[in-house]
Symmetry: C2
Amino acid sequence: MVKRTSRDIRTANRYEVLRQIIAESPTSRQELAAATGLSLATVATLVGELLDLRMLTEVGFEDSAGGRPRGLVAVNAAGGALIGVDIAETYVRAELFDLGLNVLARAAEHMRPGESRPEQVVGHVTTAVGSVVAQAGIEGARVLGVGVSVPGQVDRVTGVAEYAPNWDWHDVPLLDLLTEHIAYPLHLDNPLRACAVAELWFGAARGHANAVVVNLGTGVGAGLVIGGGVHRGVSNSAGEWGHTTLVLDGRLCHCGNHGCVETYVGAPGIMLNLRELDPGGALLHPEDQTATVDALARGVAAGDPVAVKVVRDTARYLGAGISDLVNLLNPEIVVLSSWVAATLGEPLVAEVREAVARHALKRPLAATEIVLSPIPGDPVCLGAATFALEGALSSVTQRSSAARRGAPVPLKPV
Amino acid sequence: MVKRTSRDIRTANRYEVLRQIIAESPTSRQELAAATGLSLATVATLVGELLDLRMLTEVGFEDSAGGRPRGLVAVNAAGGALIGVDIAETYVRAELFDLGLNVLARAAEHMRPGESRPEQVVGHVTTAVGSVVAQAGIEGARVLGVGVSVPGQVDRVTGVAEYAPNWDWHDVPLLDLLTEHIAYPLHLDNPLRACAVAELWFGAARGHANAVVVNLGTGVGAGLVIGGGVHRGVSNSAGEWGHTTLVLDGRLCHCGNHGCVETYVGAPGIMLNLRELDPGGALLHPEDQTATVDALARGVAAGDPVAVKVVRDTARYLGAGISDLVNLLNPEIVVLSSWVAATLGEPLVAEVREAVARHALKRPLAATEIVLSPIPGDPVCLGAATFALEGALSSVTQRSSAARRGAPVPLKPV
């Protein structure tokens, strides 16, 4: 049964209003209504809820040319803190944000190759979270939640990391392990969703109903924004674009399949593109993805023909794979995110645009644009913190509807 | 700006209630509430609207063990007629339905290769529509609308067939041309959307929030059901899965790209698979897709090793391409539709299931099933008629809200 509820709409509207206030503070209810297309009555109700939660604060009145002065609201940045954790193949990063999603503290833990047992990773996460709370000098009680992005496929309900291909993790009860060390409310999901949520709330996908956030790192995938929300699929594994067959019977992928997009455009795939072109060349740092991609970026900037050719070859694969997404989903925008995209930057994006123009069908091509993520810093941390924000908003709703029904309101201990 | 309205929800709920009544008539408001998850008050309002429109009729009371007897409603099959038109590469079919979506009349026009100028196609559509109205012996005024499915990419608002690759149509003003000959309200879209809507209302996707309807004919594509509705994309061209690159630098496709899924699993692609395996064989009917696919189906049934091998090879390509959809969208169900799927039937589906099991990631694979469309007859005609039904429901809404505002209610002349 497909059950559509007005609660889904209310949640989406609450996000929309808060997004708008975060983007433009202070603002009036009237401006919010105009910007979101919601009625003034709806906006007033939602703003009231957010004021009750101390996520917003009243900040005076707007000068008005006659008529009643309009009350202004702003994000109550000090109303709470959110933590976003990015567990990647080679590092764990944590960032602590205020409610305006400004970074107050950062911590990073390096992980050596092979250092990927669940308890090792949990140790790094615990250290990084402790570090950002200490640095920010805030009381633990003010942390509204911790969003954790973990590679691969994650069951959001049980908190089990079902499959992380680069580590060969299977059914790791990550939420349970983290809960032993971290007392804040925890929200798990994967980097595809984190990047998509970050772009939707704060980046290039803001205000778009249909967007694709292509994540280019060690692994690759696509966060899908459909109908103004993140599309998760029936078991929260949507977006595995990295395992689209691009070259039937092509390179072997760790998923067991051959010719997956990821084997050509993930960082190890790019290293292989380089090795095939220039086996003994100076750009290749065997065993070091970051150094190799950095060297490629510098090489392109310096006009090194090998670097230019490798980026062009990679863009050709990417162009075909992104065209698949454009043809299939007909999005308004394709955003290139994560560290490989950030490092190779505009030269890569320019090549990708040309390749997509050669591959994609005219009608969807004309409707879409391809851009680099405008989010400074780590979009995965930001997106993970946004999960925590969404979680805080939804637990708040449950509390306030319980309160409306006259039930006792248990506050979640942290 | 992403504007979510309660009207979208109301429309979706109206569809859901009508779908349920069409599936199970007679029924009570209470049963409808239980089946749809909507409140009894909402169901009562929606049923009231549909009664006002004479789409439903009251049919007495349910026996009840005490308490107030429950009123029963049923589809008012005679309340209007809907026509669905399937414009394909080799034929034009029209079917006339009552409001219970039972076929009352059918007509088909054969199109010879090359007979694909817009005015020729419009002539066939006009003849077929005239024929089903005459056969059904109904007054024209009872036809609530005509849905027309046209291959390729269609602008639903302007009614322009923007690109039909198999005919090399570019920007054909099809709606304008049809309007010169057909006086009923017309609703244009493409076969991907028609098959998706047919499965969502009446077929294997009923009750699923996330489904993919894979359309296997001369052209191939995927109708996408996401969040309980058809995903059209920003310019109504979503679903062009046929132009996903499966074999980089592979077979040349009429879209200008190489290695598209369609070149391996569309009917001409299957003919090429056969020709490559058995160049002078008896199964191949050059220039006749239908006869060749029929011969393959008979060959598989008879255990002909060439036919078995061709279907297996085709399923291997299909399996890789469908795995891309499973990995990317994480659907609950994949439905194989259109004439090639219907002709090759369960032997094809069995091979496809095996191939997808080899290619797809475990988590999305475990969440999905692959089935043959259960819709008897032409799902494209049924889906196109459903566009007309959706159109009639939405014009009704506009009238009834105009009436509620006290405005005059213009009835659409037919």
